[in-house]
């Protein structure tokens, strides 16, 4: 495995994404929503209640969206990256070049993973700052940084992104349509996380540090399974003859 080759493939994809406004706009829109929209919702909640437990639970629930976002954001990129190559029929010359299947797969993974993670981290900064600004008067201390957001950003978000990318490779290998790949690729990694968010909102579960670590452990297992399956589906023989 030569990472330089994988990085080269990822760099080429970055150049393409940079020229595809739809991908850029979806990244920026989603991150703006999380980094600015949620803090103002927190501000609204603070204006309606002074119950610190309620406010804290809402903030933690909102912060979980950085994990959900890490599932959604790579989808647009990964589905364009792989299905786009299929649609442009550019996989054949790429596979004929002296690169291994693993290098192509890792390159595609980096191309989808890195922008999603970087944009999640970048948007988390204004989120945390604005929440601190809005709740400091209520809590009388800085709410962020704390361990929960650390686990969400540094553990859950990368694990969710990897799961999303691997699931997309599997879906793209069976789908010839960007829209279908995007819809399935969004739904499959996102739905379990949305379910967790809704259970939190319904106060069935609380996003404590231990809950987040359990979610992280489950995701790690899922990652191993989906990445193994993705590697299995990404073989040049299969790509050129069986990908529909």
């Amino acid at each position: 495995m030569r990472l330089s080759k994988a990085w080269l493939i990822a760099s080429k994809d970055f150049m393409i994404f940079w020229k595809k406004p739809t991908i850029l706009y979806s990244l920026v829109f989603f991150e703006l929503l999380m980094s600015l929209g949620f803090p103002f919702l927190v501000k609204y909640i603070v204006s309606r209640t002074s119950n610190l437990a309620v406010i804290g639970a809402r903030i933690d629930a909102f912060s979980f969206w950085f994990a959900i976002g890490a599932a959604i954001l790579p989808v647009g990129i990964a589905s364009y990256s792989l299905v786009g190559e299929k649609l442009q029929q550019s996989l054949e010359p790429l596979l004929a070049a002296p690169v291994t299947d693993g290098e192509i797969l890792v390159g595609k993974g980096i191309a989808a993973f890195l922008p999603a993670i970087v944009s999640s981290y970048v948007s988390a900064v204004p989120f945390m700052v604005l929440v601190d600004v809005f709740v400091h008067g209520t809590f009388h201390h800085l709410y962020y940084p704390n361990w929960n957001i650390g686990v969400i950003l540094l553990l859950l978000a990368p694990l969710v992104s990897l799961f999303s990318v691997a699931a997309n490779v599997l879906i793209s290998s069976r789908s010839g349509d960007v829209r279908t790949a995007q819809q399935l690729g969004t739904a499959i990694p996102m739905l379990p996380l949305i379910a967790i968010y809704l259970l939190t909102e319904a106060r069935v579960i609380t996003l404590t540090l231990s809950t987040l670590l359990v979610i992280g452990a489950v995701l790690a297992v899922l990652d191993v399974l989906t990445i193994s399956a993705a590697i299995g589906s990404f073989r040049r023989d299969v790509i050129l003859t069986e990908w529909t």
């Binding site: 080759k5 393409i16 020229k19 442009q88 029929q89 054949e92 790429l94 004929a96 002296p98 040049r236």
Partner: protein, 340 residues
């Protein structure tokens, strides 16, 4: 058909130039004198046989045309030779490297260029960026990349448009970029799948002239094509595939094998004396059509003068003498029809 199949494949003759790649010399010594050496290559998909027991060799600097109807297995054969899909049985070597050996497959891919059936360019990127990406993938140095990109885009008349996204290009321009992409790392062997399909005559001529120029530079070219006129003009030898390989030969020998050597003699007038004179030489398959005789000869250079002398001695006035050369298209169709 038996006569076509026999004696059409020849022994490998040319040892390729040494390369700095490690292990190359031993590979060459073990296996190859030809640049492409295919022995009993077979590919099956489930129960379907796509390519059946195909054997042929292609020498260095040769343009080898691969003809066959749709679904004959031409692209599958090319993909196996480019290490894109695995073989089922048989052997094939590119410059001594074994397509079935994973360690050799990277070496093979370094030394080949592929122009696939679909151009497969990155439409958002410029022509230059498309080529530069592939130059980097093939580990060309920056000066090599710059020099080769400029050379090939200039030869293909695209240098002025190098910074434009290829998505804005015409089909012909995209095809030219795909050809340049396959050459950016200066490969020894070029595999081309229908390189002039759907091109207008002008673009097609640019591409075919370019292919001929590449042969002059010593590149080995494996050409899948349906364009029989193009194959006749460009290819040193032709293989006709219909799941199995029906024949391999030069276009002229192929025609001769199918049709024989037919001489046509056109006279001003024909009378019984002239007919007797011609018949006295026992020509094969003699046909008279008005004032024209057509007959088969074994050796045109030796036999034709005898007929001319006999006709002149009989008082005949010859207007022209020519060899009948059916187009490759007719030859190809006859070979394909005989397999039905």
């Amino acid at each position: 058909m038996i006569s076509l199949l026999q004696g059409t494949q020849r022994d490998a003759r040319i040892v390729p130039e040494p390369s700095p790649d490690e292990g190359y010399v031993s590979n060459v010594q073990q296996h190859a004198q030809s640049m492409i050496d295919v022995q009993h290559l077979t590919k099956t998909f489930g129960k379907d046989i796509a390519v059946d027991d195909v054997s042929f060799q292609v020498d260095q600097g040769e343009i080898f045309g691969f003809l066959g109807p749709n679904g004959a297995g031409k692209t599958t054969t090319m993909r196996m030779l480019c290490c894109l899909i695995s073989k089922t049985t048989g052997d094939a070597h590119i410059s001594g490297f074994d397509i079935g050996n994973p360690a050799d497959s990277l070496q093979i891919r370094k030394m080949i260029g592929l122009v696939p059936d679909a151009v497969g360019l990155y439409e958002e990127l410029s022509a230059y960026d498309n080529l530069d990406f592939y130059g980097k993938l093939y580990e060309c140095t920056e000066p090599q990349r710059k020099a080769n990109i400029e050379k090939f885009l200039t030869m293909l008349d695209l240098w002025d448009k190098r910074d434009q996204p290829v998505g804005n290009f015409s089909k012909g321009m995209k095809q030219k970029v795909a050809v340049a992409r396959a050459l950016v790392h200066d490969p020894a062997v070029l595999f081309m799948d229908e390189p002039t399909a759907n091109l207008d005559p002008e673009s097609s001529k640019v591409v075919t002239d370019f292919i001929l120029e590449l042969r002059r530079e010593g590149k080995t070219i494996f050409l899948n094509t349906h364009n029989l006129d193009e194959a006749q003009r460009m290819c040193d030898r032709i293989g006709i595939l219909k799941t199995s390989l029906l024949t391999v030969n030069t276009p002229d020998e192929l025609r001769k094998a199918v049709w024989g050597s037919n001489t046509v003699i056109q006279l001003a007038d024909v009378d019984d004396t002239i007919i007797s004179a011609v018949q006295s030489l026992n020509p094969k398959n003699l046909v008279r059509d008005g004032n024209q005789f057509t007959f088969a000869v074994d050796d045109p250079l030796a036999d034709n003068p005898k007929f001319v002398q006999a006709i002149v001695a009989a008082g005949g006035r010859i207007q022209y003498v020519t060899q009948l050369n059916p187009a490759l298209e007719e030859t190809y169709l006859r070979i394909i029809q005989e397999t039905r």
